[in-house]
Structures are given as C-alpha cells and as structure tokens.
C-alpha cells in the first residue's frame, strides 16, 4: 500500500533508531491510559508499544500461551531486541495482562526507566483527584530520570501539541461522513497507526499537508458498503485491505488506537495535571473502565452519524475485559439496526482466507 503514513509505521524501528542516534530519549508505553503529554514535556519521545505478526518464540518462556497474543507478541518483540532503542517503559494497569506484565518486563528487559502506573477503574471526581496525584508522582519520576523540569508551561505546551494532533485525526475521521469519502478505511488506519509512533508535531505536519492536498470529492459513491470496525487493536493492514477487497469500506472505528485514542481533548490551563487526569479518565472508555455504557453510546452514535450498514467486532482471543462486553455490544448494536460480524483475531497466524469468506458473506447479507 502506498502511503507515507504506512511507510513511517512499517519503518518505525529504523526511525526510532535514528532519533536515538540524534540524542533523543525514547520511552515505550502501553494503552490509552498513559498520559503521553508528560513524557513529551520531559523532552522524551513516547512511542506506543506494539506487537507484530511475526511468530512468537521467545515470549513463550515467560508467558503462558493462553494469554492474549497482543501482550505475548509485544514481549516477544522486545525479547528479540526490536525495541532495543527504548530508554524506558511505562505500563499502566488497565487489564489483567498489563497488570502481570510489569514484573516480567522489568526483570527481563531491564529498562533504565520503568514505571507501572496505577489507573483507577472509574472516572468520578475522587478518581480524577487520585489520578492527578499519580500524575504528579509520574511527573516527578520523569523529571528525576530526565533531569528536565516539567513546569505548567511546558505541560500546557505538550497538551496543545497533543490536542492539535487529536483534532487533526478527528478531522480525517470526519471526512468519511461524506457519501464519497476521499480516503479509504485502510488509509485512515495507516494514519492512526503512524500517529502512535511518530512525534506528534511531525505527524500533525503530515496531516495538515494531507488535508490541504486532498483531491476534490468524487461525484458518485463507489458502492462500497459502509462499515464500522470495533474492538481490540491489531497490526494487520491486510485485514483492512481484505475488507475493501470484499466490497466494504471502514468509514469509522471504535478501536483503542482509533477514536478511543484520538477523540479526546485535554483542557489547557492552570491545573494541567488535573486536566490530564480528567481528560484521560473521561475519554471514551475502554472496557477496562466502569461504567461500560458510555462506550456503547459512543459506538451507537458513530454508527448512526457515519451511516454504517454493519459493524465488524474484532476481539483478541483471551482478552477478558473485551470479551465480557461482547455479547452485550453485539445484541445492543443489532437491536439498534446494525448487524454485527464477530471476529476472533490474532495477528499471529492471521487467516486471511477465512476472514475474507466471513466478510464477504456479511457484506452480501447487508446488501
């Protein structure tokens, strides 16, 4: 696929090696609940830790095979040395796997900076205060590690950089409100992926250019069936392309690296730590947060606004947090008039043929 965004993502390790050689610090982090702005404000580049479709070999000595392949693959990639450029790692506690990982990661990877970040499960005022306290401790530890003072001004600046980037990706998402979306679902997916690893100002510059140079809208729709993709994260660009080959187009998502990540806005102001805490805890919730209802509402609203015909709900095997919600999400979406295709996915051993057969049948049913 031709896309400078996808290129950047595919070459993410080479790019990071380059930043490292240029003297930059790099910290890898998991999940949507790590406040990256703090890392950015410490003068360090935060990169999202990701798995790969490469076979898992080394991680099996450290994690049972009945754990989600996302975490197994991330650990495997690290053990293979793919992440050797990282100076540190932040693991927020969001699910049972991110809870078990800190001890394993710390002992085997020995990062020079390490933080296991406690995250509340709720988003009440008390939870926000609690998390703001954790932000302050996190900030201190980053300052100590980097020797770089993080004041309100630099933090507000970081928040601004992140807000701009989030707003730009939201703008990209909104292009698909049109009947003739100028970008395909896989192109948008590449944009979301690259934003996980590129420094935000760089990503934003690329996005501005893309938005400025957009071709004029097509006159007629191409007949692709409008779909939403929801659930867990995945690496596989082939998955998005397979949907397109089958006559579908993903116009919107509810993925942890998609709208749940980018559709957030943090207030700049006099209490940036508290703003961060509130912003992170009150974004569209991942299933590790309670109550779960706001996520369903988000999905229903997206499905309506983006006029999707159906939803592909994709889940990692052994991902408890997501899987408890699955029957409920499925029936609620269906009741609201959005048929659902359930997919068990793992990047490792991805079965493209089987997936295409399922998607084709689903799309036929929608048409």
């Amino acid at each position: 696929m031709e896309s400078e965004f996808y290129d950047a993502y595919s070459k993410r390790h080479e790019l990071a090696e380059g930043w490292k050689q240029a003297g930059k610090g790099i910290i890898g982090y998991f999940c949507n609940y790590t406040p990256e702005e703090l890392i950015h404000a410490a003068g360090i580049i935060p990169v999202r830790l990701r798995g790969s479709s490469e076979n898992i070999a080394l991680a099996d000595a450290h994690l049972p095979t009945f754990c989600c392949s996302f975490i197994r693959s991330c650990l495997d990639q690290a053990l293979r040395g793919r992440y050797s450029y990282l100076d540190g790692v932040v693991i927020p506690k969001t699910c049972d796997m991110t809870r078990c990982l800190p001890g394993i990661w710390k002992r085997n990877m020995k990062p020079s900076y390490f933080r296991a970040l406690p995250v509340p499960g709720k988003s009440t005022d008390e939870a926000v205060d609690f998390f703001a306290h954790e932000m302050a401790l996190f900030k201190e530890s980053l300052e100590e590690y980097s020797g770089h003072k993080i004041d309100d001004e630099s933090l507000n600046k970081a928040i601004k950089v992140y807000n701009e980037n989030r707003a730009l990706v939201q703008e990209v998402h909104k292009l698909a409100l049109s009947d003739t979306p100028p970008l395909s679902g896989s192109e948008v997916f590449a944009i979301m992926l690259s934003g996980l690893i590129l420094p935000k100002d760089e990503h934003s510059a690329m996005l501005r250019k893309l938005l400025d140079d957009l071709p004029p809208a097509k006159e007629t729709a191409d007949g692709a069936v409008r779909l939403m993709i929801a659930g867990n994260t995945f690496e596989n660009m082939e998955l998005m392309q397979a949907i397109e080959e089958c006559g579908g187009n993903v116009v919107i998502d509810d993925l942890d690296i998609g709208t749940r990540y980018y559709w957030n806005h943090i207030e700049e102001g006099s209490e940036p730590l508290k703003a961060l805490a509130a912003g992170y805890l009150r974004r569209v919730p991942c299933p590790c947060k309670h109550p779960a209802q706001p996520r369903l509402e988000h999905m229903l609203k997206l499905a309506k606004d983006y006029r999707v015909k159906g939803v592909i709900l994709i889940n990692q095997q052994y991902c408890d947090t997501h899987l408890y919600d699955r029957p409920w999400l499925e029936s609620s979406l269906q009741q609201a008039g959005f048929p659902v295709l359930l997919v068990d996915h793992s990047d490792i051993g991805w079965v493209g043929g089987k997936f295409k057969t399922m998607v084709r049948a689903f799309i036929e049913m929608l048409e």
């Binding site: 506690k93 710390k106 406690p118 509340p120």
Partner: protein, 417 residues
C-alpha cells in the same frame, strides 16, 4: 510401600481433620440461610472474593459468592454442562470458568444439587482490584438481573511493598460510599458500631487462620492442602460472624494437638511442597496423588488470600489497608519475595504450579516466579495446565506422569543414593 493397614483403607490417604465435619454443618446452615433470605427479609448481596464482606454482615445481609458456588458445581460434577450453556449463549470459552459456570447455572435456573439454583441477587457488589474479570463479570450479571450494581474501585498498586496513603484513602472512601449505597438500596440504616463488631469478628477469624498457617511449618506438617482449601469456606463466606470464629478456634485446637503430638497429615512425609495457586475443584484428589510419594503441601498463598488483620476502631481505613495489601496484588517480584520467606520458614523442597488456564491474572506470572525461585534458591518446580472448575481440558494421565517425574527429581536431590 506394601504395608497394608486396616484403617484407613487406603494407606496413602491423608488423615482428614475431625473439625472438618463441623464444616458440613456450617455449610448447611449457610445455604439454609441463603434459601430463606427473602422470607427472612435479609438482603442477598452477590459479592466477589477479595471484597469487603464485612459490609454485608454489618447490614445483616447474606453474602453469596458465585466463585464459591461455581467451585461447588465443579466438585458436584455439573460444571462442564454449565460452562457449555454459557458458551452457547455467546460467552467466550476462554473466560474465567467461575463466571462461565455461574452463568450456565443462572441461564438454566439449575443449581449444584440438581435443584433450581439460587435466588436472584438484591444487590451485586464487585471490587476492581483483585482481577479485571470481577467488575466485567458483575457488569454482565447486572445486565442480566437488572438490579443495583456497586463497583468498589481500587487502583492497582503493583508494588505490594509500600502502600501509598492516597491509595488507602481512595479505597476507604469507596468503601464508605458503598455502605451508603447499600443503605439506600436496602432501606436499612447503616450502623458504624455494628460494622465495628463485624470487623472485630473478622479480625479474630483471621488471627486464628494465621495461627493455623504458622503451624503448618511443623515437621511433619499437621494439615493437608485439601483441608486448607475446604476449611477456607468459613473464612471466605462467614468472615465477620461468630460462627467463623468458633469454627477456627476448634480447628486451631485440633491442629495444635497434632503438632504437639507430631502427628502428620500424611502417613510418610518425605517432601515438603508448595501448591500454587488455585485448587482443582473437580479433581481435589490429585493432591492425594502427591501423598502417595510422600509429598505434603505445607504452605500456599491462596489459603492466605482471605485472611488479614483489621482494626475495628478505624473500620474503613483498616479494611482499605487490608484489601490493598493482599499479596495477590503485588507484581511477580513481590510474590516471589513472599515465597522466598515461606520456603525458608516452611522448609520447602519444591513448588507445584497449577497453571489455571482461565485465570490469566494469577497464572501469567507463574513462569517468571518459577524462574526467580529456581535462579535464586535453586528450588525445583513443576508446572501443569488445568482449569480450576471445568474438567473438560484435564489430562489426568499426562499430569500424573509429570508428577512422577517431578518426584523422581526431588528424590534424587533430597535423598541421593
């Protein structure tokens, strides 16, 4: 190993405690109270393990533990059907088998004894902080029963050694809020003095349990792992009641008598082992298989998950501290440290890891813990995969073969020819 005795009929069968008979009565009373709760006007609150049961007794309510009930279904050999029913309704087979089994029972309206199962809850109460399954499972039950749900939040501490003040105060406030929610839902007035009484009883039961736990260090060890697992019932379900305290007094006295008279739990103790972590409810006898080779389980962490000292003069803060410092909440390094202490204190020769495939939360770190103990203490270990509740994946012959290999290895280390 040929010497046949009259009694017990099986020469390798470990000696069970007389007090465990008292357990049957406690059990029966509890299930009777549960069955008549509606008629007695007592609120039935379904609660997760590692949750403040003390609050429920303070309201004169009846706590019900789906986890316990699923274990009961498993030992009564109806769990596989229940899990299948839950899977048939769209729940993933990989989920915690406690949850699957309970959902099966709920959907089928059938219980562990071929009865109609248990009554619907008045309130659902879960804590965030033991595992991620708890709140998600409770949310799913709330959608089914459409009754009030209380989730008590606690952020994960990861580092179990130090408990930051803000973690404690956050949970203490959550507990207090939960008390007022229960008040609202049940229409019963919350009485802090009653909570103090309950907390004091909870503390007494814990203290007794800790005594028993200490006595397991005796050589030979006085109590079998099966007794530990089964006698836990009162600590899990009745913690905060007089009955639990009386039961553990009796149990402690009997265990003490055994220790004083050097009576071991198995006929010929040759190896002292740790069982990590969950019981296998459909195959408790597997523990006896170790006994056939002189393997005795002398300590474990699971058994201690439910005890914890609490101070009735400051109930909310103290409960918060107790539920946060629970060992299972520490990362693998913290658990390994706990084990290291126990390995010394209990003269341990080896550790057995039950890799409980449906419980990521407490199985994912086992390989790491095993490596740490091997690297630092040269402690031999064996690992086998099973499911605590669901018997469908269990491979008896393979597991037994592993046990035999493990015992041979222990034999050559401890008793070299």
């Amino acid at each position: 190993m040929e010497n046949k005795q009259e009694k017990p009929t099986d020469p390798f069968k470990p000696a069970r405690l007389a007090t465990s008979a008292a357990l049957g009565i406690l059990n029966e009373n509890y299930y009777n109270a549960l069955a008549s709760a509606k008629a007695d006007g007592k609120p039935v609150i379904w609660i997760t393990s590692m949750a403040p049961i003390e609050l429920i007794y303070a309201f004169d309510g009846i706590p019900f533990f789906p986890e316990n009930y699923a274990a009961l279904c498993s030992s009564r050999k109806v769990a596989a059907e229940f899990c299948e029913t839950a899977e048939g309704s769209g729940m993933s087979q990989g989920l915690c088998s406690y949850a699957l089994c309970m959902f099966g029972s709920i959907f089928e309206k059938r219980g562990a004894f071929g009865d109609e199962g248990v009554d619907e809850p008045d309130i659902l109460l879960a804590t965030e902080g033991a595992c991620a399954t708890h709140p998600k499972w409770w949310e799913a039950m709330q959608r089914h029963f459409n009754c009030p749900l209380i989730i008590i939040d606690a952020a994960y501490t990861v580092d179990g050694e130090t408990l930051p003040e803000h973690h404690k105060s956050y949970l203490a406030a959550e507990l207090e809020k939960a008390a007022y929610k229960i008040e609202e839902y049940t229409g019963k007035k919350f009485d802090i003095d009653r909570l103090r009484e309950v907390v004091s009883l909870s503390d007494q039961a814990s203290e007794l349990w800790d005594d028993i736990d200490d006595m397991r260090a005796a050589v030979p060890t006085p109590i079998t792992q099966i007794d530990v697992f089964t006698c836990l019932f009162a600590l899990v379900t009745l913690r905060g009641t007089k009955e639990a305290v009386e039961f553990y007094q009796q149990l402690r006295d009997e265990v003490k008598e055994r220790v004083d008279n050097s009576v071991g739990s198995i006929p010929n103790e040759r190896f002292r082992l740790i069982w990590d972590l969950f019981p296998i409810y459909h195959n408790m006898r597997l523990l006896n298989y170790f006994a056939e080779f002189g393997g005795a389980f002398v300590t474990d962490l699971y058994g201690n998950a439910f005890s914890g000292r609490v101070d009735s003069s400051d109930p909310f803060n103290s409960l918060a501290e107790r539920y946060l410092s629970f060992f299972m909440r520490s990362a693998s390094w913290g658990k390994s440290e706990l084990y290291k202490k126990r390995i010394e204190k209990y003269h341990v020769d080896g550790i057995v890891f039950h890799s409980n495939r449906c419980c990521r939360c407490f199985s994912a770190e086992q390989p790491e813990i095993s490596q740490i103990l091997r690297d630092e203490l040269r402690l031999p270990s064996m690992t086998f995969e099973a499911d605590m509740v669901d018997p469908r994946v269990f491979d008896d012959a393979q597991v037994k073969a592993r046990i035999e290999t493990f015992i041979e290895m222990l034999e050559s280390r401890k008793y070299p020819k």
